[in-house]
Symmetry: C2
Subunit: 327 residues, 2 copies
Protein backbone atom coordinates (compact mmCIF):
# COMPACT_ATOMS: atom_id res chain seq x y z
CA UNK A 1 0.00 0.00 0.00
CA UNK A 2 2.89 2.33 0.81
CA UNK A 3 4.52 1.64 -2.53
CA UNK A 4 1.18 2.17 -4.24
CA UNK A 5 0.69 5.55 -2.56
CA UNK A 6 4.22 6.66 -3.42
CA UNK A 7 3.79 5.67 -7.06
CA UNK A 8 0.43 7.41 -7.24
CA UNK A 9 1.86 10.65 -5.86
CA UNK A 10 4.93 10.50 -8.08
CA UNK A 11 2.81 9.97 -11.19
CA UNK A 12 0.67 12.98 -10.31
CA UNK A 13 3.60 15.32 -9.70
CA UNK A 14 5.97 14.09 -12.41
CA UNK A 15 5.69 17.26 -14.53
CA UNK A 16 6.05 19.54 -11.53
CA UNK A 17 9.14 17.69 -10.36
CA UNK A 18 10.70 18.05 -13.79
CA UNK A 19 9.99 21.78 -13.84
CA UNK A 20 11.49 22.11 -10.35
CA UNK A 21 14.63 20.18 -11.36
CA UNK A 22 15.14 22.44 -14.36
CA UNK A 23 14.83 25.57 -12.23
CA UNK A 24 17.12 24.19 -9.51
CA UNK A 25 19.88 23.71 -12.04
CA UNK A 26 19.06 26.85 -14.05
CA UNK A 27 19.09 29.23 -11.08
CA UNK A 28 22.60 28.14 -10.15
CA UNK A 29 23.99 29.15 -13.51
CA UNK A 30 26.02 31.00 -14.38
CA UNK A 31 28.04 30.62 -11.20
CA UNK A 32 31.52 29.58 -10.33
CA UNK A 33 32.45 26.00 -11.02
CA UNK A 34 33.20 25.29 -7.39
CA UNK A 35 29.81 26.55 -6.17
CA UNK A 36 27.99 24.58 -8.83
CA UNK A 37 29.87 21.43 -7.92
CA UNK A 38 29.46 21.71 -4.17
CA UNK A 39 25.85 22.86 -4.39
CA UNK A 40 25.18 20.14 -6.95
CA UNK A 41 26.67 17.51 -4.65
CA UNK A 42 23.93 18.15 -2.11
CA UNK A 43 21.18 19.40 -4.44
CA UNK A 44 21.29 16.59 -6.96
CA UNK A 45 21.73 13.62 -4.67
CA UNK A 46 18.23 12.24 -4.87
CA UNK A 47 16.34 14.65 -2.60
CA UNK A 48 12.59 14.25 -2.67
CA UNK A 49 11.92 17.94 -3.53
CA UNK A 50 9.06 17.78 -1.08
CA UNK A 51 9.38 21.40 0.04
CA UNK A 52 9.32 23.02 -3.43
CA UNK A 53 6.60 20.61 -4.45
CA UNK A 54 4.45 21.74 -1.54
CA UNK A 55 4.82 25.35 -2.65
CA UNK A 56 3.80 24.54 -6.22
CA UNK A 57 0.81 22.47 -5.12
CA UNK A 58 -0.41 25.03 -2.57
CA UNK A 59 -0.16 27.75 -5.21
CA UNK A 60 -2.20 25.60 -7.58
CA UNK A 61 -4.80 24.84 -4.92
CA UNK A 62 -5.24 28.61 -4.53
CA UNK A 63 -5.71 29.09 -8.28
CA UNK A 64 -2.22 30.20 -9.35
CA UNK A 65 -2.02 30.22 -13.13
CA UNK A 66 1.35 31.90 -13.78
CA UNK A 67 4.57 30.24 -14.86
CA UNK A 68 6.94 31.37 -12.10
CA UNK A 69 5.85 28.87 -9.45
CA UNK A 70 8.66 26.37 -10.08
CA UNK A 71 11.23 29.16 -9.94
CA UNK A 72 9.91 30.52 -6.65
CA UNK A 73 9.68 26.97 -5.32
CA UNK A 74 13.44 26.52 -5.59
CA UNK A 75 13.79 28.91 -2.63
CA UNK A 76 12.75 26.11 -0.31
CA UNK A 77 15.13 23.54 -1.72
CA UNK A 78 18.02 26.02 -1.62
CA UNK A 79 17.26 26.91 2.00
CA UNK A 80 17.00 23.22 2.82
CA UNK A 81 20.30 22.41 1.09
CA UNK A 82 22.02 25.37 2.81
CA UNK A 83 20.90 24.03 6.18
CA UNK A 84 22.08 20.51 5.34
CA UNK A 85 25.52 21.78 4.35
CA UNK A 86 25.92 23.62 7.65
CA UNK A 87 24.30 20.82 9.68
CA UNK A 88 26.59 18.13 8.39
CA UNK A 89 29.51 20.19 9.61
CA UNK A 90 27.80 20.88 12.93
CA UNK A 91 26.85 17.25 13.45
CA UNK A 92 30.13 15.79 12.24
CA UNK A 93 28.12 13.44 10.00
CA UNK A 94 29.88 11.34 7.39
CA UNK A 95 27.05 10.37 5.05
CA UNK A 96 24.07 12.21 3.60
CA UNK A 97 21.71 10.66 1.06
CA UNK A 98 24.18 7.80 0.61
CA UNK A 99 27.07 10.13 -0.27
CA UNK A 100 30.04 11.43 1.68
CA UNK A 101 29.13 14.85 3.13
CA UNK A 102 30.36 17.94 1.28
CA UNK A 103 32.58 19.17 4.10
CA UNK A 104 34.55 15.93 3.79
CA UNK A 105 34.62 15.76 -0.03
CA UNK A 106 35.82 19.38 0.01
CA UNK A 107 36.42 21.05 3.37
CA UNK A 108 34.61 23.00 6.07
CA UNK A 109 35.24 26.46 4.54
CA UNK A 110 33.86 25.40 1.17
CA UNK A 111 30.78 23.83 2.76
CA UNK A 112 30.13 26.90 4.93
CA UNK A 113 30.46 29.37 2.06
CA UNK A 114 28.40 27.29 -0.36
CA UNK A 115 25.69 27.07 2.31
CA UNK A 116 25.82 30.85 2.65
CA UNK A 117 25.57 31.20 -1.11
CA UNK A 118 22.53 28.92 -1.38
CA UNK A 119 20.79 30.81 1.40
CA UNK A 120 21.56 34.10 -0.34
CA UNK A 121 20.34 32.68 -3.67
CA UNK A 122 17.08 31.70 -2.01
CA UNK A 123 16.67 35.21 -0.62
CA UNK A 124 17.33 36.82 -3.99
CA UNK A 125 14.64 34.68 -5.58
CA UNK A 126 12.31 35.60 -2.72
CA UNK A 127 13.02 39.27 -3.44
CA UNK A 128 12.13 38.60 -7.11
CA UNK A 129 8.58 37.72 -6.11
CA UNK A 130 8.15 41.40 -5.28
CA UNK A 131 5.85 40.33 -2.43
CA UNK A 132 6.89 41.71 0.94
CA UNK A 133 4.91 39.02 2.75
CA UNK A 134 6.87 36.30 0.98
CA UNK A 135 10.13 37.97 1.89
CA UNK A 136 9.04 38.34 5.51
CA UNK A 137 8.17 34.65 5.50
CA UNK A 138 11.59 33.67 4.19
CA UNK A 139 13.38 35.96 6.65
CA UNK A 140 11.36 34.40 9.46
CA UNK A 141 12.22 30.90 8.26
CA UNK A 142 15.95 31.56 8.24
CA UNK A 143 15.81 33.10 11.70
CA UNK A 144 13.78 30.23 13.15
CA UNK A 145 15.90 27.57 11.50
CA UNK A 146 19.17 28.96 12.81
CA UNK A 147 17.65 29.30 16.28
CA UNK A 148 16.43 25.70 16.12
CA UNK A 149 19.84 24.43 15.10
CA UNK A 150 21.57 26.39 17.85
CA UNK A 151 19.11 25.15 20.43
CA UNK A 152 19.65 21.58 19.24
CA UNK A 153 23.41 22.05 19.46
CA UNK A 154 23.09 23.41 22.99
CA UNK A 155 20.89 20.51 24.02
CA UNK A 156 23.13 17.79 22.61
CA UNK A 157 23.64 15.10 25.21
CA UNK A 158 21.20 16.83 27.59
CA UNK A 159 19.24 13.91 29.05
CA UNK A 160 16.72 16.25 30.65
CA UNK A 161 15.33 17.42 27.29
CA UNK A 162 11.55 17.52 27.58
CA UNK A 163 8.94 16.66 24.96
CA UNK A 164 8.02 20.36 24.85
CA UNK A 165 11.61 21.41 24.17
CA UNK A 166 11.90 18.70 21.51
CA UNK A 167 8.74 20.03 19.84
CA UNK A 168 10.15 23.55 19.79
CA UNK A 169 13.40 22.30 18.20
CA UNK A 170 11.64 20.38 15.43
CA UNK A 171 9.21 23.24 14.85
CA UNK A 172 12.13 25.60 14.25
CA UNK A 173 14.40 23.27 12.33
CA UNK A 174 11.82 21.52 10.14
CA UNK A 175 8.22 22.70 10.42
CA UNK A 176 8.87 26.39 9.68
CA UNK A 177 10.32 25.51 6.28
CA UNK A 178 7.33 23.29 5.40
CA UNK A 179 4.86 25.91 6.58
CA UNK A 180 6.80 28.66 4.83
CA UNK A 181 6.68 26.73 1.54
CA UNK A 182 2.92 26.18 1.83
CA UNK A 183 2.28 29.75 2.93
CA UNK A 184 4.35 31.13 0.06
CA UNK A 185 2.38 29.01 -2.41
CA UNK A 186 -0.80 30.64 -1.14
CA UNK A 187 0.77 34.11 -1.19
CA UNK A 188 2.06 33.96 -4.75
CA UNK A 189 -1.42 32.85 -5.81
CA UNK A 190 -2.85 35.94 -4.13
CA UNK A 191 -5.01 33.79 -1.82
CA UNK A 192 -7.21 35.41 0.80
CA UNK A 193 -5.79 35.49 4.36
CA UNK A 194 -7.92 32.61 5.65
CA UNK A 195 -6.49 30.30 3.00
CA UNK A 196 -2.94 31.53 3.60
CA UNK A 197 -3.35 30.68 7.28
CA UNK A 198 -4.91 27.30 6.51
CA UNK A 199 -2.08 26.24 4.23
CA UNK A 200 0.44 27.61 6.70
CA UNK A 201 -1.11 25.32 9.32
CA UNK A 202 -1.15 22.36 6.94
CA UNK A 203 2.60 22.83 6.43
CA UNK A 204 3.20 23.22 10.15
CA UNK A 205 1.52 19.95 11.07
CA UNK A 206 2.98 18.12 8.09
CA UNK A 207 6.46 19.34 9.01
CA UNK A 208 6.16 18.20 12.62
CA UNK A 209 4.87 14.77 11.54
CA UNK A 210 7.58 14.51 8.89
CA UNK A 211 10.32 15.17 11.44
CA UNK A 212 8.83 12.72 13.93
CA UNK A 213 8.71 10.07 11.20
CA UNK A 214 12.33 10.89 10.37
CA UNK A 215 13.32 10.55 14.00
CA UNK A 216 11.56 7.17 14.12
CA UNK A 217 13.44 6.00 11.03
CA UNK A 218 16.69 6.65 12.87
CA UNK A 219 15.72 3.74 15.13
CA UNK A 220 14.08 1.49 12.59
CA UNK A 221 16.00 1.78 9.31
CA UNK A 222 19.33 0.59 8.04
CA UNK A 223 22.06 2.15 5.95
CA UNK A 224 20.82 0.80 2.63
CA UNK A 225 17.47 2.59 2.84
CA UNK A 226 18.37 5.80 4.65
CA UNK A 227 21.75 6.53 3.18
CA UNK A 228 23.03 6.93 6.71
CA UNK A 229 23.54 4.64 9.67
CA UNK A 230 20.66 3.84 11.98
CA UNK A 231 21.26 5.37 15.37
CA UNK A 232 23.01 8.41 13.89
CA UNK A 233 21.02 10.87 16.02
CA UNK A 234 21.77 8.84 19.12
CA UNK A 235 25.45 8.72 18.28
CA UNK A 236 25.46 12.54 18.05
CA UNK A 237 23.76 12.79 21.43
CA UNK A 238 20.46 14.01 19.93
CA UNK A 239 17.48 12.99 22.02
CA UNK A 240 14.35 12.57 19.94
CA UNK A 241 10.78 11.76 20.92
CA UNK A 242 11.00 7.93 21.05
CA UNK A 243 13.80 8.13 23.60
CA UNK A 244 12.41 11.13 25.50
CA UNK A 245 9.13 9.31 25.95
CA UNK A 246 10.76 6.01 26.97
CA UNK A 247 13.08 7.76 29.45
CA UNK A 248 10.10 9.49 31.06
CA UNK A 249 8.52 6.19 32.06
CA UNK A 250 11.26 3.58 32.32
CA UNK A 251 12.46 1.71 35.39
CA UNK A 252 15.69 2.99 36.93
CA UNK A 253 17.60 0.01 35.59
CA UNK A 254 16.37 0.46 32.01
CA UNK A 255 16.96 4.19 32.25
CA UNK A 256 20.59 3.60 33.16
CA UNK A 257 20.87 1.08 30.34
CA UNK A 258 19.56 3.60 27.78
CA UNK A 259 21.69 6.46 29.11
CA UNK A 260 24.79 4.28 28.96
CA UNK A 261 24.23 3.83 25.21
CA UNK A 262 23.51 7.54 24.75
CA UNK A 263 26.73 8.47 26.53
CA UNK A 264 28.86 6.12 24.45
CA UNK A 265 29.13 7.31 20.82
CA UNK A 266 30.94 4.07 19.97
CA UNK A 267 28.05 1.81 20.98
CA UNK A 268 27.78 -1.48 19.10
CA UNK A 269 24.88 -3.16 17.30
CA UNK A 270 23.92 -5.18 20.39
CA UNK A 271 23.74 -2.14 22.63
CA UNK A 272 21.70 -0.30 19.99
CA UNK A 273 19.27 -3.21 19.74
CA UNK A 274 18.97 -3.27 23.53
CA UNK A 275 18.05 0.41 23.50
CA UNK A 276 15.49 -0.08 20.73
CA UNK A 277 13.97 -2.88 22.84
CA UNK A 278 13.60 -0.39 25.68
CA UNK A 279 11.99 2.15 23.35
CA UNK A 280 9.46 -0.53 22.35
CA UNK A 281 8.93 -1.69 25.92
CA UNK A 282 8.08 1.79 27.20
CA UNK A 283 6.03 2.75 24.19
CA UNK A 284 8.48 5.35 22.80
CA UNK A 285 8.07 4.10 19.23
CA UNK A 286 4.28 3.73 19.44
CA UNK A 287 3.82 7.11 21.14
CA UNK A 288 5.89 8.91 18.49
CA UNK A 289 3.87 7.19 15.75
CA UNK A 290 0.64 8.30 17.43
CA UNK A 291 1.82 11.88 17.75
CA UNK A 292 2.93 11.97 14.12
CA UNK A 293 -0.42 10.48 13.07
CA UNK A 294 -2.28 13.13 15.08
CA UNK A 295 -0.39 15.91 13.27
CA UNK A 296 -1.19 14.29 9.92
CA UNK A 297 -4.86 14.25 10.89
CA UNK A 298 -4.61 17.93 11.82
CA UNK A 299 -2.87 18.72 8.52
CA UNK A 300 -5.61 16.99 6.54
CA UNK A 301 -8.36 18.62 8.60
CA UNK A 302 -7.30 22.15 7.57
CA UNK A 303 -7.53 21.14 3.91
CA UNK A 304 -11.19 20.11 4.17
CA UNK A 305 -12.71 23.56 3.59
CA UNK A 306 -10.88 23.83 0.25
CA UNK A 307 -12.74 22.86 -2.92
CA UNK A 308 -12.71 19.21 -3.82
CA UNK A 309 -9.87 19.75 -6.25
CA UNK A 310 -7.46 16.98 -7.38
CA UNK A 311 -4.65 19.05 -5.82
CA UNK A 312 -6.37 18.92 -2.44
CA UNK A 313 -6.48 15.12 -2.71
CA UNK A 314 -2.80 15.09 -3.65
CA UNK A 315 -1.85 17.18 -0.60
CA UNK A 316 -3.84 14.74 1.55
CA UNK A 317 -2.02 11.80 -0.05
CA UNK A 318 1.32 13.48 0.62
CA UNK A 319 0.33 13.88 4.25
CA UNK A 320 -0.55 10.19 4.48
CA UNK A 321 2.67 9.24 2.79
CA UNK A 322 4.79 11.30 5.20
CA UNK A 323 3.66 8.92 7.91
CA UNK A 324 4.36 5.62 6.20
CA UNK A 325 7.44 6.46 4.17
CA UNK A 326 10.43 4.20 4.58
CA UNK A 327 13.10 6.66 3.48
CA UNK B 1 46.15 65.53 11.42
CA UNK B 2 44.83 61.95 11.27
CA UNK B 3 44.07 61.95 14.97
CA UNK B 4 42.38 65.32 14.63
CA UNK B 5 40.14 64.08 11.83
CA UNK B 6 39.21 60.96 13.75
CA UNK B 7 38.31 62.99 16.88
CA UNK B 8 36.29 65.44 14.82
CA UNK B 9 34.28 62.62 13.21
CA UNK B 10 33.77 60.80 16.50
CA UNK B 11 32.52 63.96 18.21
CA UNK B 12 30.02 64.55 15.41
CA UNK B 13 28.62 61.00 15.45
CA UNK B 14 28.74 60.31 19.17
CA UNK B 15 24.97 60.31 19.63
CA UNK B 16 24.40 58.19 16.55
CA UNK B 17 26.96 55.64 17.72
CA UNK B 18 25.23 55.41 21.08
CA UNK B 19 21.86 54.84 19.46
CA UNK B 20 23.39 52.17 17.22
CA UNK B 21 25.01 50.41 20.21
CA UNK B 22 21.71 50.32 22.05
CA UNK B 23 19.92 48.80 19.05
CA UNK B 24 22.68 46.26 18.42
CA UNK B 25 22.27 44.90 21.94
CA UNK B 26 18.49 45.33 22.04
CA UNK B 27 17.79 43.47 18.80
CA UNK B 28 19.63 40.42 20.07
CA UNK B 29 17.35 40.09 23.09
CA UNK B 30 15.57 38.01 24.04
CA UNK B 31 17.68 35.26 22.54
CA UNK B 32 19.43 32.22 23.85
CA UNK B 33 22.35 32.77 26.14
CA UNK B 34 24.76 31.03 23.82
CA UNK B 35 23.78 33.16 20.81
CA UNK B 36 24.05 36.36 22.80
CA UNK B 37 27.47 35.39 24.09
CA UNK B 38 28.90 34.29 20.75
CA UNK B 39 27.33 37.16 18.84
CA UNK B 40 28.44 39.55 21.58
CA UNK B 41 32.00 38.26 21.35
CA UNK B 42 32.28 39.53 17.80
CA UNK B 43 29.74 42.39 17.96
CA UNK B 44 31.05 44.12 21.05
CA UNK B 45 34.77 43.84 20.48
CA UNK B 46 35.41 47.43 19.50
CA UNK B 47 34.14 47.48 15.92
CA UNK B 48 33.97 50.92 14.36
CA UNK B 49 30.26 50.65 13.43
CA UNK B 50 31.16 52.31 10.16
CA UNK B 51 28.55 50.45 8.10
CA UNK B 52 25.53 51.24 10.30
CA UNK B 53 26.81 54.78 10.72
CA UNK B 54 26.90 55.24 6.95
CA UNK B 55 23.27 54.16 6.73
CA UNK B 56 22.20 56.60 9.42
CA UNK B 57 24.14 59.49 7.87
CA UNK B 58 22.93 58.81 4.33
CA UNK B 59 19.34 58.68 5.61
CA UNK B 60 19.86 62.02 7.34
CA UNK B 61 21.44 63.56 4.26
CA UNK B 62 18.25 62.59 2.38
CA UNK B 63 16.04 64.22 5.01
CA UNK B 64 15.02 61.20 7.10
CA UNK B 65 13.27 62.38 10.25
CA UNK B 66 11.93 59.14 11.74
CA UNK B 67 13.30 57.26 14.71
CA UNK B 68 13.89 53.80 13.19
CA UNK B 69 17.16 54.58 11.44
CA UNK B 70 19.42 53.16 14.15
CA UNK B 71 17.38 49.97 14.24
CA UNK B 72 17.54 49.50 10.47
CA UNK B 73 21.24 50.36 10.56
CA UNK B 74 21.98 47.29 12.70
CA UNK B 75 21.30 45.15 9.62
CA UNK B 76 24.71 46.12 8.27
CA UNK B 77 26.62 45.36 11.46
CA UNK B 78 24.87 42.00 11.82
CA UNK B 79 25.67 41.08 8.23
CA UNK B 80 29.24 42.20 8.77
CA UNK B 81 29.57 40.19 12.00
CA UNK B 82 28.00 37.12 10.34
CA UNK B 83 30.60 37.30 7.60
CA UNK B 84 33.45 37.70 10.07
CA UNK B 85 32.32 34.64 12.04
CA UNK B 86 32.30 32.51 8.89
CA UNK B 87 35.47 34.09 7.50
CA UNK B 88 37.54 33.41 10.57
CA UNK B 89 36.67 29.76 10.20
CA UNK B 90 37.38 29.82 6.48
CA UNK B 91 40.68 31.63 6.92
CA UNK B 92 41.82 29.65 9.95
CA UNK B 93 42.57 32.99 11.68
CA UNK B 94 43.42 33.07 15.35
CA UNK B 95 42.82 36.69 16.27
CA UNK B 96 40.14 39.23 15.40
CA UNK B 97 40.01 42.71 16.91
CA UNK B 98 42.62 41.64 19.44
CA UNK B 99 40.56 38.68 20.67
CA UNK B 100 40.71 34.95 20.02
CA UNK B 101 38.28 34.14 17.19
CA UNK B 102 34.86 32.74 18.14
CA UNK B 103 35.39 29.38 16.46
CA UNK B 104 38.33 28.80 18.78
CA UNK B 105 36.71 30.18 21.95
CA UNK B 106 33.71 27.95 21.19
CA UNK B 107 33.89 25.67 18.14
CA UNK B 108 33.22 25.67 14.40
CA UNK B 109 29.57 24.55 14.68
CA UNK B 110 28.73 27.31 17.16
CA UNK B 111 30.45 29.95 15.02
CA UNK B 112 28.69 28.76 11.85
CA UNK B 113 25.23 28.70 13.42
CA UNK B 114 25.66 32.05 15.17
CA UNK B 115 26.74 33.53 11.84
CA UNK B 116 23.61 32.08 10.25
CA UNK B 117 21.53 33.54 13.04
CA UNK B 118 23.00 37.05 12.68
CA UNK B 119 22.42 36.95 8.93
CA UNK B 120 18.83 35.86 9.53
CA UNK B 121 18.37 38.59 12.15
CA UNK B 122 19.57 41.16 9.64
CA UNK B 123 17.09 39.88 7.07
CA UNK B 124 14.22 40.00 9.51
CA UNK B 125 14.99 43.62 10.32
CA UNK B 126 15.22 44.34 6.59
CA UNK B 127 11.77 42.79 6.18
CA UNK B 128 10.53 45.11 8.97
CA UNK B 129 11.31 48.15 6.82
CA UNK B 130 8.42 47.06 4.62
CA UNK B 131 10.40 48.36 1.65
CA UNK B 132 10.88 45.79 -1.08
CA UNK B 133 13.83 47.74 -2.50
CA UNK B 134 15.64 47.53 0.82
CA UNK B 135 15.02 43.81 1.00
CA UNK B 136 16.24 43.34 -2.57
CA UNK B 137 19.35 45.30 -1.64
CA UNK B 138 20.03 43.09 1.37
CA UNK B 139 19.42 39.89 -0.61
CA UNK B 140 21.82 41.14 -3.27
CA UNK B 141 24.44 41.95 -0.64
CA UNK B 142 24.33 38.48 0.89
CA UNK B 143 24.59 36.85 -2.52
CA UNK B 144 27.51 39.02 -3.62
CA UNK B 145 29.34 38.62 -0.33
CA UNK B 146 29.16 34.84 -0.37
CA UNK B 147 30.30 34.81 -4.00
CA UNK B 148 33.21 37.09 -3.14
CA UNK B 149 34.28 34.87 -0.27
CA UNK B 150 34.07 31.73 -2.39
CA UNK B 151 36.04 33.34 -5.19
CA UNK B 152 38.68 34.45 -2.69
CA UNK B 153 38.86 30.92 -1.28
CA UNK B 154 39.27 29.48 -4.77
CA UNK B 155 41.99 31.97 -5.58
CA UNK B 156 44.01 31.41 -2.43
CA UNK B 157 47.62 30.89 -3.34
CA UNK B 158 46.91 31.59 -7.01
CA UNK B 159 49.88 33.70 -8.05
CA UNK B 160 48.27 34.58 -11.36
CA UNK B 161 45.50 36.63 -9.71
CA UNK B 162 45.06 39.81 -11.74
CA UNK B 163 44.25 43.30 -10.54
CA UNK B 164 40.86 42.98 -12.21
CA UNK B 165 40.08 39.75 -10.36
CA UNK B 166 41.25 41.33 -7.10
CA UNK B 167 38.91 44.27 -7.69
CA UNK B 168 35.98 41.92 -8.27
CA UNK B 169 36.75 40.07 -5.02
CA UNK B 170 36.91 43.24 -2.90
CA UNK B 171 33.83 44.65 -4.60
CA UNK B 172 31.87 41.55 -3.60
CA UNK B 173 33.29 41.01 -0.16
CA UNK B 174 33.47 44.63 1.03
CA UNK B 175 32.11 47.31 -1.28
CA UNK B 176 28.62 45.81 -1.72
CA UNK B 177 27.99 46.06 2.02
CA UNK B 178 29.13 49.70 2.13
CA UNK B 179 27.08 50.60 -0.91
CA UNK B 180 24.11 48.64 0.42
CA UNK B 181 24.25 50.56 3.71
CA UNK B 182 24.38 53.94 1.92
CA UNK B 183 21.68 52.93 -0.55
CA UNK B 184 19.41 51.73 2.24
CA UNK B 185 19.86 55.02 4.07
CA UNK B 186 18.61 56.85 0.97
CA UNK B 187 15.75 54.36 0.49
CA UNK B 188 14.40 54.57 4.04
CA UNK B 189 14.44 58.37 3.66
CA UNK B 190 12.33 58.02 0.51
CA UNK B 191 14.99 59.76 -1.57
CA UNK B 192 14.53 60.20 -5.30
CA UNK B 193 16.28 57.63 -7.53
CA UNK B 194 19.12 59.94 -8.54
CA UNK B 195 20.10 60.41 -4.90
CA UNK B 196 19.76 56.69 -4.18
CA UNK B 197 22.16 55.99 -7.02
CA UNK B 198 24.57 58.73 -5.93
CA UNK B 199 24.81 57.40 -2.37
CA UNK B 200 25.07 53.85 -3.69
CA UNK B 201 28.09 55.01 -5.70
CA UNK B 202 29.58 56.86 -2.74
CA UNK B 203 29.42 53.61 -0.74
CA UNK B 204 30.87 51.60 -3.61
CA UNK B 205 33.95 53.80 -3.97
CA UNK B 206 34.38 54.20 -0.21
CA UNK B 207 34.18 50.42 0.24
CA UNK B 208 36.81 49.74 -2.42
CA UNK B 209 39.14 52.36 -0.91
CA UNK B 210 38.50 51.05 2.59
CA UNK B 211 39.45 47.50 1.58
CA UNK B 212 42.55 48.70 -0.26
CA UNK B 213 43.60 50.64 2.85
CA UNK B 214 42.96 47.50 4.90
CA UNK B 215 45.07 45.44 2.55
CA UNK B 216 47.85 48.02 2.85
CA UNK B 217 47.69 47.85 6.65
CA UNK B 218 48.41 44.14 6.45
CA UNK B 219 51.87 45.11 5.21
CA UNK B 220 52.45 48.18 7.31
CA UNK B 221 50.91 47.60 10.75
CA UNK B 222 51.77 45.50 13.75
CA UNK B 223 49.79 43.36 16.14
CA UNK B 224 49.26 46.09 18.71
CA UNK B 225 47.37 48.38 16.34
CA UNK B 226 45.48 45.94 14.16
CA UNK B 227 44.62 43.25 16.66
CA UNK B 228 46.07 40.73 14.26
CA UNK B 229 49.53 39.94 12.96
CA UNK B 230 50.94 41.90 10.03
CA UNK B 231 51.27 39.64 7.03
CA UNK B 232 48.14 37.67 7.95
CA UNK B 233 46.73 37.86 4.41
CA UNK B 234 50.04 36.73 2.99
CA UNK B 235 50.24 33.85 5.43
CA UNK B 236 46.81 32.70 4.25
CA UNK B 237 47.93 32.88 0.63
CA UNK B 238 45.73 35.91 -0.13
CA UNK B 239 47.19 38.08 -2.86
CA UNK B 240 46.19 41.72 -2.49
CA UNK B 241 46.89 44.74 -4.64
CA UNK B 242 50.35 45.73 -3.27
CA UNK B 243 51.72 42.28 -4.09
CA UNK B 244 49.78 41.84 -7.34
CA UNK B 245 51.17 45.14 -8.60
CA UNK B 246 54.74 44.41 -7.49
CA UNK B 247 54.66 40.92 -9.03
CA UNK B 248 53.51 42.38 -12.33
CA UNK B 249 56.67 44.45 -12.71
CA UNK B 250 59.40 42.81 -10.70
CA UNK B 251 62.64 41.24 -11.95
CA UNK B 252 62.64 37.45 -12.16
CA UNK B 253 64.88 37.23 -9.10
CA UNK B 254 62.66 39.45 -6.95
CA UNK B 255 59.57 37.66 -8.22
CA UNK B 256 61.01 34.35 -7.04
CA UNK B 257 61.92 35.93 -3.73
CA UNK B 258 58.35 37.20 -3.16
CA UNK B 259 56.77 33.94 -4.28
CA UNK B 260 59.00 31.98 -1.91
CA UNK B 261 57.57 33.97 1.01
CA UNK B 262 54.01 33.57 -0.29
CA UNK B 263 54.44 29.80 -0.56
CA UNK B 264 55.82 29.45 2.96
CA UNK B 265 53.13 30.17 5.59
CA UNK B 266 55.79 29.92 8.29
CA UNK B 267 57.86 32.82 6.94
CA UNK B 268 59.82 34.78 9.53
CA UNK B 269 60.10 38.52 10.21
CA UNK B 270 63.18 38.87 8.00
CA UNK B 271 61.54 37.24 5.01
CA UNK B 272 58.43 39.39 5.54
CA UNK B 273 60.56 42.55 5.64
CA UNK B 274 62.32 41.45 2.48
CA UNK B 275 58.99 41.08 0.75
CA UNK B 276 57.79 44.49 1.95
CA UNK B 277 61.03 45.95 0.55
CA UNK B 278 60.13 44.44 -2.81
CA UNK B 279 56.61 45.89 -2.59
CA UNK B 280 58.15 49.32 -2.02
CA UNK B 281 60.76 48.85 -4.73
CA UNK B 282 58.20 48.02 -7.41
CA UNK B 283 55.69 50.61 -6.26
CA UNK B 284 53.09 48.14 -4.94
CA UNK B 285 52.47 50.19 -1.80
CA UNK B 286 52.40 53.54 -3.59
CA UNK B 287 50.17 52.23 -6.41
CA UNK B 288 47.64 50.81 -3.93
CA UNK B 289 47.58 54.14 -2.07
CA UNK B 290 46.99 55.99 -5.32
CA UNK B 291 44.17 53.68 -6.32
CA UNK B 292 42.54 54.01 -2.90
CA UNK B 293 42.91 57.80 -3.08
CA UNK B 294 41.29 57.85 -6.53
CA UNK B 295 38.27 55.97 -5.18
CA UNK B 296 38.03 58.40 -2.27
CA UNK B 297 38.04 61.27 -4.76
CA UNK B 298 35.28 59.54 -6.71
CA UNK B 299 33.29 58.96 -3.51
CA UNK B 300 33.52 62.62 -2.58
CA UNK B 301 32.69 63.76 -6.10
CA UNK B 302 29.27 62.10 -6.05
CA UNK B 303 28.42 63.95 -2.82
CA UNK B 304 28.98 67.37 -4.39
CA UNK B 305 25.49 67.81 -5.88
CA UNK B 306 23.94 67.33 -2.41
CA UNK B 307 23.07 70.41 -0.37
CA UNK B 308 25.86 71.88 1.67
CA UNK B 309 24.62 70.13 4.78
CA UNK B 310 26.84 69.30 7.82
CA UNK B 311 26.12 65.62 7.12
CA UNK B 312 27.58 65.95 3.64
CA UNK B 313 30.75 67.34 5.17
CA UNK B 314 30.82 64.48 7.65
CA UNK B 315 30.52 61.87 4.88
CA UNK B 316 33.40 63.61 3.10
CA UNK B 317 35.47 63.56 6.29
CA UNK B 318 34.74 59.85 6.71
CA UNK B 319 35.95 59.27 3.17
CA UNK B 320 39.17 61.13 3.90
CA UNK B 321 39.65 59.23 7.12
CA UNK B 322 39.24 55.84 5.39
CA UNK B 323 42.42 56.61 3.54
CA UNK B 324 44.59 57.67 6.44
CA UNK B 325 43.33 55.43 9.23
CA UNK B 326 45.90 53.40 11.07
CA UNK B 327 43.59 50.65 12.32
Amino acid sequence: MTVGLKQKILAAVQDDLQRIERELAGNLNPHFDLVSRVAGHILFAGGKRLRPLLMVLCARLCGYSGDRDARFATIFEYLHAATLLHDDLVDGSEMRRGKTVANQVWDNPTAVLTGDFLLARGLSIAADTGLCEVIETIAGITENMSQGEIRQLEKKGDITLTEEEYLEVIRCKTAVLFQGACRTGALVAGAEPIRVTALNDYGHHLGLAFQMADDLLDYTQDLATMGKHAGADLREGKLTLPLIHALSRSSDADRERMLAVLKNPDFGADEFEGLVDCLEKYGGIAYTREQAAAHIQAAKAVLRPFDNHPTRKLLMDIADYALVRKA
